[in-house]
């Protein structure tokens, strides 16, 4: 006897287009070309500023959260190292290279570390909303009313603490529910960074824009998950840039290289040099346009 119902071989969403209505299909290579204000490859540095409560909570446990039985001093402090030391190394590295970035910050970062947020803003960088703290995770186990309240609380707290209301949103672990896109749109956000299905901005059905932050190119994926060295990570970033620059030249359309950085990962003393060398290399390339997320979305919208 099979334990599969007859419906298992019926496919009600088998139709042209997706099996959902969140966004429409298109082939990136067949779209009208995108032109950036300068260069052909937009290099988007996005830094996550994360505060992990020593008591984990939320819809699911965020990557990087506490591991040992309470009290997990080891991970609480090793993560906070990023906010105390690593992020400052990033700010100096960006200033030295003459580039600006997006900083996806938990509301708790803006409240707890105002000096850091002031320096981010003073450096000409963008604040992207990144939930309340690292317990502020979202998935479809969360009641939509609770999710709406969580997003509203994060936006209100970030605005109150930093003086800035972000136009961009990054969910923790890029995880959403089926309700998230509408909740973000209701909050007046312009874009989110969670969907890794494309390499250029595109618009969801509800009007929100997706600015894809490729998780495969992140320091978390390459260094923490795949256990590669900082030099191997930098080599992959150079290979990616070279490919995208060639593709942009051949197609006549702009491309984008998202570089997702985590202060407690890439901001360590023995890794930061690889980032500084990469930034110096790319800043010297005529194809590169270093831009914040909001600038990339704005440039894309003028052409879209």
């Amino acid at each position: 006897m099979s334990s599969l119902p007859d419906s298992y071989t019926h496919y009600p969403k088998r139709r042209e287009g997706y099996d959902h209505d969140l966004y429409a299909w298109s082939n990136m290579h067949a779209r009208p070309p995108v032109a950036w204000p300068q260069g052909s490859v937009a290099v988007w540095l996005c830094v996550s500023l994360e505060w992990f409560p020593i008591l984990p909570g939320g819809a699911f446990t965020a990557p990087g959260h506490m591991v040992t039985p309470y009290p997990d001093y080891r991970h609480y402090t090793a993560r906070d190292y990023g906010n105390r030391v690593g992020a400052w190394r990033f700010l100096e590295a960006f200033a030295k290279a003459g580039v600006t970035a997006s900083f996806a910050a938990n509301a708790a970062i803006a409240e707890r570390y105002p000096e850091l947020i002031d320096a981010v803003i003073a450096g000409g960088h963008e604040i992207v909303a990144h939930s309340t703290d690292m317990n502020g995770t979202i998935d479809s186990t969360l009641d939509p009313a609770a999710e709406r309240a969580l997003v509203a609380e994060a936006m209100e707290r970030i605005e109150r603490a930093s003086g800035v209301r972000p136009t961009g949103w990054l969910s923790i672990a890029r995880q959403q529910s089926f309700a998230t896109l509408d909740i973000l749109e209701e909050q007046g956000l312009g874009y989110c960074c969670d969907w890794v299905n494309d390499e250029l901005p595109y618009r969801f059905t509800n009007g929100l824009v997706n600015l894809p932050l490729n998780h495969e190119l992140s320091d978390r994926q390459i260094i923490t998950v795949q256990q590669k060295s900082a030099d191997s990570w930098a080599e992959s970033m150079r290979d990616a840039f070279d490919w995208l620059a060639r593709e942009a030249k051949a197609s006549g359309g702009g491309r984008m290289l998202p570089i997702h950085l985590t202060p407690y990962i890439m901001g360590l003393p023995y890794r930061i040099g690889a980032l500084e060398c990469l930034l110096a290399d790319l800043a010297g390339r005529e194809e590169a346009w270093f831009a914040r997320g909001d600038q990339i979305v704005a440039a894309w919208e003028t052409k879209a």
């Binding site: 334990s3 088998r14 287009g17 290579h29 479809s140 529910s177 299905n197 494309d198 590669k228 840039f241």
Partner: protein, 292 residues
């Protein structure tokens, strides 16, 4: 297979060093085929008692989005690189892609690629299917690919590598010529089936890009070097009796911007070597079958 027996009885044992010589067209020593998986994963598939489709609650945004990258961006990037160096694809196809994104299937067909079935969706698993259900996915596969491309499928790679004890017998009964689900050899081998004939063509999990990047954690350059080493060894050993090298791919992995450049160099190396018979799966099975 012998259901319930500890040896499933899939094939006979043949020592690698005493086999009849297999020769490939043009005197090449290794048949090289590239197997792009053109897949569709459902965002909210039904529950299966033996396998969870997504690690996170639906929608698993990163898991779904990562795979969707194939159908919006990286299929064309991967396909262009293959075409540039003369490699046709033999496609492991989630046949529902013919409905969801016919543009991707049409692009592969226009490049002269061969299609075989990888089930309806890569989120519908064959475990526990009744014979009627399993026949329905085989018949659906044959009909759907024929309607979309005019091709009659000749091979099978089980959806998400999920099987029943009757799968191989059934696909042979429907006239399919090869399975990609058995990993016991570097040469084409006969599979024991209830009726008719079925060949096992070497696919590969070991040099599958998914294993390279997510099991062995290789960089793009390390994976390219792995392909070259795999090729060099199989090309040398194929002088004795023709070997097969498969390069199984997923565009959302190999077509990422940091991996595609090194991959192109591996294809350039293999194409320039001179010992490779670059072919489609069906051609390799036919050339082997003619020597039995």
């Amino acid at each position: 297979m012998r259901e319930g027996a500890s040896d499933p009885g899939l094939y006979d044992y043949h020592p690698y060093n005493t086999r009849p010589k297999i020769t490939w067209p043009g005197g090449k020593s290794v048949a090289v085929w590239v197997a792009p998986n053109l897949e569709y994963y459902e965002i909210d598939p039904p529950v299966h008692p033996k396998r969870k489709a997504w690690p996170r609650p639906h929608p698993d945004v990163v898991g779904y989005g990562h795979r969707d990258h194939s159908n919006r961006v990286s299929h064309w990037r991967m396909a262009e690189v293959m075409s540039r160096h003369g490699f046709p694809g033999s496609v492991s196809l989630s046949v529902a892609l013919c409905q969801h994104h016919p543009e991707v299937v049409a692009d592969a067909a226009a490049r002269g690629w061969e299609f075989f079935s990888h089930g309806i969706y890569n989120t519908r698993y064959a475990y526990e299917m009744t014979e009627a259900q399993e026949r329905s996915i085989i018949e659906d596969s044959i009909r759907t690919v024929r309607d979309a491309t005019g091709q009659t499928i000749r091979g099978w790679l089980a959806p998400a590598l999920t099987h029943t004890p009757r799968t191989l017998d059934l696909i042979a009964e429907y006239g399919l010529d090869y399975t990609c689900d058995l990993y016991h050899d570097d040469q084409v081998q006969e599979v024991k089936v209830a009726k008719g004939q079925l060949a096992s063509i070497p696919y590969s999990l070991e040099v599958n890009d998914h294993y390279g990047f997510f099991v062995y954690n290789m960089s793009g350059r390390e994976y390219a070097e792995t392909l070259i080493r795999q090729f060099e060894r199989l090309a040398a050993e194929g002088e004795r009796s023709g070997t097969v090298m498969c390069i199984p791919l997923h565009a959302y992995l190999i077509g990422q911007p940091h991996r595609i450049g090194p991959f192109e160099e591996a294809l350039r190396h293999i194409a320039a070597d001179g010992r490779a018979w670059i072919a489609r799966a069906g051609e390799i099975v036919d050339a082997w079958r003619a020597q039995q």
